[in-house]
Symmetry: C2
Subunit: 366 residues, 2 copies
């Protein structure tokens, strides 16, 4: 098989220069990717974790940070946020290196058997094993669909705020009805050093999928004339000298309005995309990576897949199944990382060795 994804990239890459050498790279920092760190850590396998999102938690945080989950064993009720925090606490003894806001675009096997990985952001790894805990794929912002507007991407049209200073003192139009749209509208509308010249919040209707407190604050700022809220949809735009200067808006009342602006911020949420993973030559069935149920290894030895991204007979997309898969995948990887050491199952309750690894004291028994 050929694991090269993007021939253009691989030709221009002088092999592995400056790459981070490690035992394991985990692609995905959702709950299963995080627990993979733990299971590898117990076997003394060091891991780097890469995620396209800016923080740990994956779908749990992106899709339902505050909604209760009831089916994590022995956690009768927890939110995605709490689950993520608990897992981060659990893996803290293993001090994993996180690489957020990065997407792996290249994965290829080197002549020495290790894997070379590169992210779109240029970080490189040489790893003995790879764990794909990619969930439903890399999360990408949902796009605003107005013909021709995409040419202003990253100059006047933004789907994420990486550098808030860039928007200070500008005429902003912020689009969306969720917490992200509300949060940034409040951030730039409130008097102070962050303040924009003007803030217009645009949403298709007067109902928000956001914290009620944020909605109340927004309405108060509108009444104080520090920002404006408009319902409607963008239907077109005007430009001058290659710059976006005005949006055309169809209001819910059927009236077309014009909104002059410097910058457009769009928060329509994130949607997952399998992305480059689909091109790595791994066995796939309906967008899921095929794995065995002994080691949760893909069709390529040394590459494991755990959580929602894999499939096997009986597979259910449950977080608790991902935890089990991560445990068995770690045992599957151990002989690759430590070819000369037999792998033995030890228990965290009784193993002095595991207590050392976890940095906890071993109790003394009679």
């Amino acid at each position: 098989m050929d694991l090269i994804v993007d021939p253009a990239v691989s030709r221009t890459t002088s092999c592995c220069e400056g790459a981070i050498e490690t035992d394991a790279v985990i692609i995905g920092a959702g709950p299963v990717g995080l627990f993979q760190v733990f299971e590898l850590g117990l076997l003394e396998i060091k891991a780097h974790v890469i995620d396209s999102l800016p923080a740990a938690g994956g779908q749990c945080i992106e899709l339902y940070p505050d909604k209760p989950i009831y089916d994590i064993p022995a956690l009768p009720l927890c939110t995605g946020q709490e689950l993520t925090e608990r897992l981060l606490q659990q893996i803290a003894p293993f001090a994993p290196a996180f690489h957020f806001n990065q997407e792996v675009t290249l994965l290829r096997r080197e002549p020495d058997g290790r894997f070379f990985l590169e992210t779109a952001q240029g970080t490189r790894f040489l790893s003995k094993t790879v764990f794909i805990a990619g969930g439903v794929g890399a999360f990408r912002p949902r796009m605003l669909k107005v013909d021709g507007l995409e040419r202003f991407n990253d100059t006047q049209l933004f789907y994420r705020v990486r550098d808030p200073a860039r928007f200070v003192g500008k005429q902003l139009v912020i689009v969306g009805g969720g917490d992200s749209a509300l949060d940034w509208a409040l951030h730039f509308a409130q008097p102070g050093p962050h303040q924009a010249a003007s803030v217009i919040l645009l949403h298709r209707r007067d109902v928000f999928r956001a914290a009620p407190a944020n909605v109340a604050k927004m309405k108060a700022l509108c009444e104080a004339e520090q920002m404006q809220f408009v319902t409607g949809q963008i239907t077109g735009f005007e430009q001058r000298d290659g710059r976006l200067i005005e949006l055309k808006l169809m209001g819910n009342d059927g009236v077309t309005r014009r909104l002059p602006l410097d910058m457009l911020l769009v928060f329509f949420g994130l949607s997952p995309r399998l992305g480059p993973i689909a091109d790595w030559g791994l066995g796939i069935d309906r967008k899921q990576l095929l794995v065995d149920t002994e080691k949760f290894q893909t069709t390529e030895p040394g590459i494991f897949a755990v959580g929602d991204i894999n499939t096997y007979p009986g597979k259910k997309k449950l977080i608790l199944s991902g935890f089990h898969e991560a445990a068995l995948a770690a045992f599957g990887a151990a002989p690759i990382v430590y070819p000369d050491r037999p792998v033995q199952l030890q228990y965290t309750t009784t193993s002095t060795k595991l207590h050392q690894v976890l940095g906890v004291e071993s109790p003394v028994f009679d």
Copy 2:
């Protein structure tokens, strides 16, 4: 195959009379058996749970109730006691019926396809499915090995205290160095309505595997001459008219002593025994039940095995693996319990149906 265990029992059993009819019987109330209740409950499958122990928790409670476990996902540290309590809380919405202090001795398929089960204590079940979550087997007390002493079992020699009233006002010898021995010695030695005529605690040495507070209390009672502590081992006994009247004891000082007594209580801990399960005609490999990894079904359709008692390629005896197995086994059982209803995976976070089943309120979204 023939699932009849004990022909003597089955011949004298008039079939299924007075049996409890149910969807599922779970054998074993350890963490995996408890979580099996939860996964079945989400699919609206009602379960009865049988355990040879007097309470839920299995090995976790019998072997290490107070020792920390570090590898339950999202629970960085918990004791066996806490894990059990959390699982009991999680399954409370499904109100399972527990049958403690009972051991299943008979398991056989009826002509209508259901399973007939009977415990040594005479409880009978007719169930559509069976889940063996038996861990390392049924826990039995470790026996005192002194030739001939077994004839006093349950009359003057006891391994469990089922009815404390029976020992009040008697001359007791209590053997063991763990918490059970200490707890009962304190119970019967302390002044009050429970008090025995005399209490001698016998242990092979002056070091205890017990809570330090209990050891301190015991020593204080000895100083107050309300009980006695003796080190040594039982080497023989005297009887008169079929009654045990005296123990012979070899002290650590090499001197033989005689201890007159009415009752002997022995607490040497519990040891597991696969027991009748080995005789049910199920596929077995080195004392483990063979299962597939799609449904965790044994070689007999409708009988599932989850947790430490099963085996398959890659199997690790981890509690978290048992949780995954319980989830997939529940999905495997659903078409047997509800042959006319398609089984769909729903999420506890978003499914209104599952919120109903769990008895929680569904959030309202935009």
